[in-house]
Symmetry: C2
């Protein structure tokens, strides 16, 4: 198999970009990634996006963004797997290079949500669940995560306050990320006093949807421009796995089975165990997702991740740092762009370019994006070559 390497990364700030359109957001991220790569030109563009047809009346983003970014005539298409859309865009970009169908592939995740507020956004996000059996009953992603969290609290005698550990880490790390939507640490008191979104889910248990774009340029190592200025990060493992779309179809809703399988497959390809990664960019759309993702990856036993987050292991200086640039909670969750942001942040860590948030000596990262409650799970193992 061809070794696929990351030649360039780019990202916009995450937030409410009232004055910037979807195509412009994508362009800014692409421009940054191409500059970072020293001018490599892609033959193919893979766009991760979730709700543009619903919130911006705009499908067919491949041709739109390719042309707007000055890449007229290249291959370009859109990938969707709900919240995992950015992750699958990276995965298909990887396949394009690994198969020899593209020498250089550009992956961009982009989302523009702020143009709409309230019900249209909730309805658009609910299309990621089962329309005929869930959304039609009024089950939005928030409501579903609340059911999952309540079940977890009941099943494992976990205190609700323990979940505050996840947003506390996220916000502590977001404070050091200049691209993050929220750059202010919070404390346990702030978490405990926050208003409920959907009981027992409070405001800090839910990552904010937002606008943003992130981009990654992939190629084969031998095609890098001479004097490539960064430590070289390669994709050592890549996998994508699905589960039932609906929670109610699962034998045990408190097991993120697809996340577990996806970690296993990606690690198998990379010939490592999960314990051999130096950081884990997990998908904390909700605090409960963070807990279940840690358990699925084997970092905590079933029902025990809430203990792990209390003891400091998951913080920047800990043994398995998570959400190192703020995670979905503090960096923000720009839907189909999120998976690409996660990978860009992991690359910054592996290159030693993560500034105040640098995980010292980070050589290998696991990056995981989820669609729905791990109905889709995509996992990448990124490794930096020895200097």
């Amino acid at each position: 198999m061809t070794d696929v390497v990351i030649a360039g990364i780019g990202q916009t700030e995450v937030g409410e970009h009232w004055d910037v359109s979807l195509r412009e957001l994508a362009f800014y991220a692409i421009e940054a990634a191409m500059a970072d790569a020293g001018g490599l030109r892609p033959q193919a563009l893979f766009v991760g996006n979730m709700v543009s047809p619903l919130l911006s009346n705009q499908a067919h983003l491949g041709a739109l963004i390719a042309d707007f970014a000055g890449l007229n005539g290249i291959e370009a298409l859109t990938l969707e797997a709900a919240g995992a859309s950015g992750g699958v865009a990276l995965r298909v970009g990887y396949m394009a290079v690994a198969s020899g169908q593209a020498d250089v592939a550009l992956v961009v995740g982009v989302e523009k949500i702020s143009d709409q507020v309230g019900t249209p956004v909730e309805a658009a996000l609910a299309t990621s669940g089962d329309s005929d059996y869930e959304a039609v009953q009024g089950i939005t992603p928030n409501a579903q995560a609340a059911l999952l969290m309540r079940r977890y609290l009941h099943e494992f005698d976990a205190p609700r306050e323990a979940f505050g550990g996840f947003p506390l880490i996220a916000h502590a790390n977001g404070a050091g990320n200049p691209k993050a939507m929220f750059r202010k640490a919070i404390n346990a008191d702030t978490y405990n006093k926050a208003g409920m979104v959907s009981d027992p889910l409070n405001m800090f248990d839910v990552a904010p949807v937002a606008d943003g774009a992130a981009a990654i340029l992939l190629t084969r190592a031998e095609l890098l421009p001479p004097g490539f200025p960064h430590p070289l990060v390669r994709i050592a493992g890549s996998s994508m796995v699905t589960d039932t779309l609906s929670l109610h179809d699962r034998p045990d809703p408190l097991v993120f089975h697809a996340a577990r399988l996806s970690v296993e497959k990606a690690c198998q390809q990379a010939r490592i165990t999960p314990a051999q990664v130096d950081l884990f960019e997990l998908y904390d759309a909700y605090s409960i997702y963070a807990a279940l993702s840690l358990e699925a990856a084997g970092f905590a036993a079933r029902g025990q991740a809430w203990k792990l987050v209390q003891n400091g292991q998951l913080a920047l200086g800990g043994s398995m740092p998570i959400l190192t640039m703020g995670g979905l909670k503090a960096r923000g969750n720009p839907g189909g762009a999120t998976g690409v942001y996660q990978a860009v942040e992991a690359v910054l860590q592996l290159r030693g370019q993560a500034g105040k948030n640098q995980v010292v000596g980070a050589r290998r990262a696991m990056v995981q994006s989820l669609g729905g409650p791990a109905s889709s799970a995509v996992t990448h193992i990124l490794e930096v070559n020895p200097a």
Copy 2:
């Protein structure tokens, strides 16, 4: 590069499936393709779909369809490039197998449009154009094709009646396809008397949107089950190219530049010239698209395809048969499923399973799907191995 072969094909009838849901349609096509392949089980599912989020409130089709089809736990995601969605699903399935990321990949195109009528459908289809510069002005795909056809008539002194040649071929061939939406030949008189949809586009110049699903199972030749019962068809060339999303951004709107480049690249990979294919499944969403596609592929000079269609060359017994199973016009145009139908039909021809519509001695087919006015173009060259 690994040789990627077609192990199984399946399709539902195209039409108005009032009593069948989107997931069921997909399941029927998958079931047929898996039976046709003698029981190969895929590791990955690539879904081509265009408007499900808009018309069925359902995104995240990968996980939904994989689970509903009894394939829980496999990789699954959605691909979109407007009308070329089915074509890009096939292309990404090809990349998955060629890259070694899947031994067996399942490609399904599915669309359910009949549940909605009138404005919602037009609005959904218009998301394939530029929302900020076209759709907002009321430019629907029909209106845009009408502008294109009017310009062609003006520029090349072509008689409007000449365009009837395309739907006449389509309907003549649809009569022999048991899966086609319309199975009745029409004559020039019927065409000339048809009411206008958007002058100069009449009812027979516009392919009907419809419901349907088609599926293809891809693998490597060495993984085929023993005693594989069909002549073996392989993907000899695959390419995808974009152009400006908007017609008004092109130096010459009467050249389908992306279609031309895509044919060149696919033929280059297959080491053939377009003249060496035995049939051309082109994308006749509109008669004018058929004409411009023939010119882009080099089968007619600029402004001359309307003459080609008069002389019988494009009919089943001619030198370059097109729309051999009815094309979009008579088989029907189930949006994101269409590209997979086109490929399934080409496989039937190459295996000698096309019944009354068999192109005698067909060994090589070119299949092309377009998104918008060739804003996206994906082309595959399929070849059957010598017996």
